[in-house]
């Protein structure tokens, strides 16, 4: 691994945004630190914030490790990220309205038709639909990595149901409870308006047939889902009902919720269920999680579904390559945040390059998520690389590859003190009648020394993320 950018120490000196944190760490001897760490863990347990890892079995109530050392951005750094994220969220939504409409970007030859129309995430059932306010993806989670003082890259976009925002809120809450002095000494932008902004965003995209104050619900697949804690947390914070498929039904032109006072009409559904399971009459007929007839109500303007079915075609890893093109095409602007250079194994020349440089690259499945099914070349054995090579050769179109980036590192509490660990950032951009972005996001940290995989399902942890006020 080449040297990476350290967000606290640059050229041996402490960078300004971290200055006060240096004093803080000096005032925190190992004994006190261990006590605080135990206190933080007890708080997380008491709140009940846990994360079950897909496909790993074991303790379903495992905590995501929380690192107390905050990650800090200056007001200037954030201003640029903020503009870049909003720009991207606008372009992704313009793309979705376009590809389910006239497909101008494809007619203009900017994106190959097959990448969109033959994509498993392209839902032909919603062709021709322009959702309320022209928004398909209402919560856009954009994964960003840093490689230098001014170098930020977007790693991927999440336009369907990005998770993790409850950690952003809880991490802050717990830090404020444990270290109130830190928040007096530093001027840190608050993030606690997120639930109210989310609620506002959802209400702003009420469907055509809704009159008056819209009724919003959060639809969860149920308590066995790994993000169930977040579903109940967000519903609670927003003051909306948390429902499962069986709590809703379709009658006439509308969707209704069973309540003790009788059925109540539902206008906006913030769903945390995949498209495939949302309506057995339109998608998978064997789904037990969805609501029969929901899509007909949606398509005739009786309810809105957030994010809208079909939004996934914009965050596919093969489509990702074209986001800078979307920004130029729809907004007439240059991208503020850059993509990571990406090789498409579906293309003959790219494939040849990828197979010849497997040891240096990160290879991912086009439809994969959660850090599963990927190869980190420099961290893999010759045997692992050869096995992965066979998988790529079998179905090249399933894979993309990117250079191994020297992800920035921030100081992190480890067993014997403080050490740099690699981090990424996922801010949550809200898109409704206007675009909202709270200053901050979820910082994920690879706790293992040298590791570049920050996914919580692969042993990553989380940190509080600060944006300093001017």
């Amino acid at each position: 691994m080449t040297t990476c950018f350290n967000e606290m120490f640059d050229d041996g000196a402490v960078r300004a945004p971290y200055a006060r944190l240096e004093d803080w760490t000096r005032s925190l001897p190992a004994g006190l630190r261990h006590m605080k760490q135990a206190e933080a863990e007890a708080l997380f347990r008491r709140i009940g914030i846990t994360f079950a890892v897909y496909g790993e079995g074991g303790d379903p109530d495992r905590l995501i490790p929380f690192d107390m050392f905050p990650r800090v951005f200056t007001a200037n750094e954030w201003a640029r990220l903020d503009r870049g994220i909003r720009q991207r969220a606008r372009a992704l939504n313009a793309f979705l309205v376009d590809v389910y409409g006239r497909g101008e970007i494809i007619r203009a030859g900017k994106i190959p038709a097959h990448l969109v129309y033959r994509n498993a995430a392209f839902e032909k059932a919603v062709v021709g639909i322009v959702p309320p306010k022209g928004v398909y993806s209402h919560i856009v989670g954009i994964d960003i990595v840093r490689t230098g003082r001014d170098e930020f890259f977007v790693l991927e976009d999440n336009c369907r149901t990005p998770s993790g925002v409850s950690y952003m809120l809880e991490n802050r809450e717990i830090m404020m409870r444990m270290f109130p002095d830190l928040f007096r000494e530093n001027r840190i932008e608050p993030v606690d308006s997120y639930p109210a902004l989310l609620r506002r965003t959802l209400a702003s995209v009420a469907p055509l047939k809704c009159e008056g104050e819209p009724t919003v619900v959060l639809l969860t697949p149920g308590h066995f889902n790994s993000a169930y804690y977040e579903h109940s947390f967000l519903a609670d914070m927003m003051g909306v009902e948390l429902v499962e498929g069986q709590d809703l039904f379709v009658e006439g032109e509308f969707v209704w919720m069973r309540t003790t006072e009788g059925p109540r009409r539902v206008d906006v559904i913030y769903r945390r269920i995949d498209d495939a399971f949302i309506d057995p009459l339109c998608f998978r007929p064997d789904s037990m999680l969805g609501i029969a007839g929901l899509m007909d109500v949606y398509r005739s303007g009786g309810v809105n579904i957030c994010s809208c079915p079909g939004a996934g075609v914009a965050d596919d890893k093969a489509v990702y390559t074209f986001v800078p093109e979307m920004i130029r095409f729809y907004l007439g602007e240059e991208p503020i945040l850059n993509n990571v250079p990406t090789w498409q194994c579906a293309l003959q020349d790219d494939l040849k390059y990828v197979l010849a440089h497997l040891g240096d690259l990160v290879v991912k499945e086009v439809h994969g998520s959660g850090g599963y099914g990927m190869l980190v070349g420099p961290k893999s054995t010759a045997d692992q690389i050869e096995r992965f090579r066979a998988r790529i050769e079998e179905n090249p179109a399933k894979y993309i590859a990117q250079p191994t980036l020297a992800l920035s590192a921030t100081p992190t509490f480890v067993e014997d003190g403080i050490a740099p660990r690699h981090v990424d950032l996922r801010p949550y951009c809200l898109v409704g009648d206007r675009i909202e972005l709270v200053p901050g996001g979820l910082t994920r940290v690879a706790l293992t020394e040298g590791s570049l995989v920050v996914n919580s399902s692969q042993g990553g942890g989380v940190k509080d993320t600060w944006v300093l006020a001017e």
Partner: protein
């Protein structure tokens, strides 16, 4: 030709159902080959839901029934004026890009036998290839009611060499897509005389310059004035005229009668 349709679907349940929701594509759209004179869909005790035209140009209408009920009847009656367009679908308004119909589904996945079949069309012009594949599928699968079920895949039907119109359509669609020709499943009615126990189905293949062309491999022909087109999709499930779901209740017994007759002007 003026065709009169009477299509009745009856659902009977062992135990009362609490409620029922259906999504219908039971109303034909106007195109050059067909003009709807009158048409009516009714559902016993049903509440009419949203109605719209989808991206495929098909009329979608949803219905719900508030239980408890032991039986539900869906009755379709109407008259359509048809003409022979040699199978070519003209004047049908739709917006779904044809490339979408190159995607396979579990029911239309091409195994090696279907891929071999598709390879026979190699080097042919698309129109010639479409006719050729339809002819090959016609010969490969003998019309045998009861040999297959609704969940039988194209590959299974071809292996059995027996099936009904659904299987012919699936096999032709699978082979066509493998040969790079966009293909879709079409459900509709056929003037066949007497009372049938199911509606009809065929395939449409997309040929540049001509557009969508119907191929009824089960009958070895292209749709003509005897056909009424209802709806299309990637496969039988996706193009089903009725998709429904009941809450509660036990087993369901389904009874379908379809009568298509030619009426005097």
């Amino acid at each position: 030709m003026i065709l009169t349709v009477e299509h009745v679907t009856r659902y009977a349940y062992d135990a009362p159902v609490r409620g029922l929701v259906q999504s219908h594509r039971l109303t034909p759209s106007d195109s050059e080959g067909q003009r709807v004179l009158d048409w009516d869909v009714s559902v016993s005790d049903g509440i009419r839901g949203g109605r719209f035209r989808d991206g495929a140009g098909d009329v979608v209408e949803s219905w719900s029934v508030t239980g408890p009920v032991l039986a539900v009847e869906v009755r379709v009656t109407g008259r359509v004026e048809t003409s022979d367009c040699a199978g070519v679908l003209r004047g049908h308004r739709e917006t779904i890009p044809t490339a979408c119909y190159l995607r396979d589904t579990p029911l239309t996945w091409a195994d090696s036998a279907l891929r071999n079949l598709a390879a026979q069309a190699q080097g042919m012009e698309p129109l010639q290839a479409a006719h050729h594949l339809s002819g090959v599928v016609s010969k490969a699968i003998a019309w045998t009611p009861g040999a297959t079920q609704s969940q039988t895949t194209a590959a299974e039907a071809l292996e059995r060499r027996q099936g009904v119109c659904q299987d012919h359509a699936h096999a032709l669609i699978a082979a066509a897509r493998d040969a790079g020709i966009p293909a879709r499943y079409v459900s509709g009615y056929l003037l066949a005389g007497g009372v049938q126990d199911a509606a009809h189905a065929w395939a449409e293949l997309h040929v540049p310059g001509l557009g969508w062309i119907g191929f009824d491999a089960a009958n070895g022909c292209c749709p003509d004035a005897r056909y009424i087109r209802l709806a299309s999709g990637l496969d039988a499930q996706d193009a089903a005229p009725i998709r429904g779901s009941a809450r509660g209740g036990g087993g369901e017994v389904l009874d379908v009668t379809v009568a298509v007759s030619q009426s005097q002007q």
